[in-house]
């Protein structure tokens, strides 16, 4: 009975943490967006506008709960709940410190990806249940984008799994004690970051919201707290992505003074390091959001299927090839056991060389294609210019 109650308490804490973290995120979002756009941001409500999120929440809760006519009430009310639930479920598997994790599943990474794919179901439900064909069109485009960008996300997620030899989150973080995975696989980190940015629907891939185009897309018909739930869910999703990138590529809770066994000092320091790394990635995500223009849907799909997917497949092949070579040549290190910086260095250099070769190859192929297109265009322009005039 006591263990059951402990389990319930842990579940309550793990489920409330992301929802509570959504509140300062709203403030960070608005302040950073404002400063990048050379204005001040919220500064009326409390010092530096800190109480602004609470004012936002009160406004959203106090709004009238309008349900448009002709909607499917159950699906309409269920969609924001499923959207937030799919994000909160991800936090069950994420380690915060050497000893603080909800449940250390052996398939942790796969669980996170599976639960993230439930969000697309929520968007489909939201788009259809509004009884509005623009919402439906918006939902179609969004689901196409989300389903397409899952492919490079999972393919680049496999690289840390390959390097660590396990899909469990604590194993992946423990394997980075010598060398962070971002030095071994920078291309994978970049592709994961871009795909995660597209998965949550942040700019430059924000056709989901597109406040100036499709008038908020699939959540046209939502107002009040239901819209607030979608809103908060999106922010928490971006934060979750930041935490995931911190764990998968930048070492998670590793840092000076953290040991894998645990203890009070390790846990507190690990939490602080994780918060710092997550904030850095969240800030980069916000930075991209506020500076890059939006891409069109066909540019988005082209970018994904003709650029990201071949590169991630090639990256996977090259990484596994180089790992095998390093095993055969003898300087492979089993990263989950205590691998120090110098022991992991040869393998790191080999993989880094492979990644750089991949980048150079991509630039060469891309440059070759662009040069060929430009030569063709110039030939056509010359043919038009020298055409006999009647």
């Amino acid at each position: 009975m006591a263990s059951f109650l402990t389990t319930l308490l842990v579940v309550a804490i793990v489920a409330t943490t992301p929802l509570v973290l959504a509140i300062p995120l709203i403030w960070i979002e608005r302040k950073v967006a404002a400063r990048i756009q050379d204005r001040l941001g919220p500064n009326r409500v409390g010092p530096w506008g800190i109480i602004q999120p609470i004012a936002d929440a009160i406004k959203l809760i106090g709004k009238e709960d309008i349900t448009p006519a002709g909607t499917d009430k159950v699906v309409y009310n269920l969609a924001p709940i499923v959207a937030v639930a799919s994000v909160v479920l991800m936090w069950a598997c994420i380690p915060f410190a050497p000893n603080l994790i909800g449940v250390d599943l052996e398939i942790g990474v796969l669980y996170i990806v599976s639960v993230a794919s439930l969000g697309t179901m929520a968007i489909m439900m939201a788009g259809w249940s509004g009884n509005n064909k623009y919402a439906l069109l918006g939902a179609f485009r969004v689901v196409a984008q989300l389903v397409s960008y899952e492919v490079p996300l999972v393919l680049s997620l496999l690289i840390p799994v390959l390097l660590a030899g396990s899909m469990g989150m604590q194993d992946i973080v423990t394997a980075q004690q010598g060398m962070w995975f971002i030095f071994m696989a920078p291309v994978a980190a970049l592709i994961f970051f871009i795909s995660a940015q597209a998965e949550t629907g942040r700019a430059p891939f924000d056709l989901l919201e597109a406040e100036s185009e499709l008038v908020a897309g699939f959540n046209i018909e939502y107002s009040g707290m239901k819209f607030g739930l979608f809103f908060a869910g999106e922010f928490v999703h971006v934060l979750t992505n930041g935490v995931l990138i911190a764990h998968l590529f930048v070492g998670g809770w590793w840092g000076l003074g953290v040991s894998a066994e645990g203890g009070i000092l390790s846990n507190v320091l690990g939490l602080i390091y994780l918060v710092i790394k997550t904030t850095i990635f969240y800030f980069i995500s916000l930075w991209l959001r506020n500076t890059l223009p939006r891409v069109r849907i066909d540019q988005l799909m082209n970018f994904n299927w003709k650029f990201l997917v071949p590169i991630s497949v090639a990256n996977l092949v090259i990484t596994s090839l180089l790992l095998k070579i390093s095993q055969v040549a003898g300087f492979a290190v089993d990263l989950t056991t205590n691998a120090s910086f110098t022991a992991a260095l040869p393998m790191t250099l080999l993989l880094l060389g492979g990644n750089i070769a991949l980048i150079l190859g991509v630039i060469a192929i891309y440059g070759f294609n662009i040069r060929r297109d430009r030569v063709q265009e110039e030939a056509q322009a010359e043919a038009i210019a020298h055409a006999p005039s009647h």
């Binding site: 499917d72 796969l110 179901m121």
Partner: protein, 169 residues
Amino acid sequence: MVVQYLAFVIFSAFAIIGAAMVVWSRNLVHSALFLVMSLFGVAGLFILLSAPFLAAIQVLVYIGAIAILIIFAVMLTRSMTAIREPFNAQSWLGAVIGAVLFVALVAGMILPVWGWGSLPTLPQSDVVGTTRDIGIALVSADGYVLPFEVASLLLTAAMVGAIVIARED
């Protein structure tokens, strides 16, 4: 353990009631959503059967892709007329066949052989299907590498076929 039994009852209820509502519901989008509920129940059953990898793949592939594909197809092929009769004229025969099949399976095969028969009905060992074992089985030479390659060919053929059939030519 009581908790396992309770979990089994809940997941089986999800699976069976979801399946029943798929067939019974007049609204096709509701049917698709009940299918999602049934798939969740099956994923839960996989977890109870010590196959966590398959449970995660069930959610990722079935719910995250196939169910969304079905909902897409439902929304793209909605007829503009009113909702007609969901069941066809031989639905009573279909119900009889389904019921006879169920009774034949349960009373004729499942209960005699594994219910009170001689074959063991309790788990033989504490196998936990780790992902590593599945991976080794899928690519080892005396494992299932040939069906694995054929399955990837099947997926490629299905992808090309679906694109060709659904194009606007």
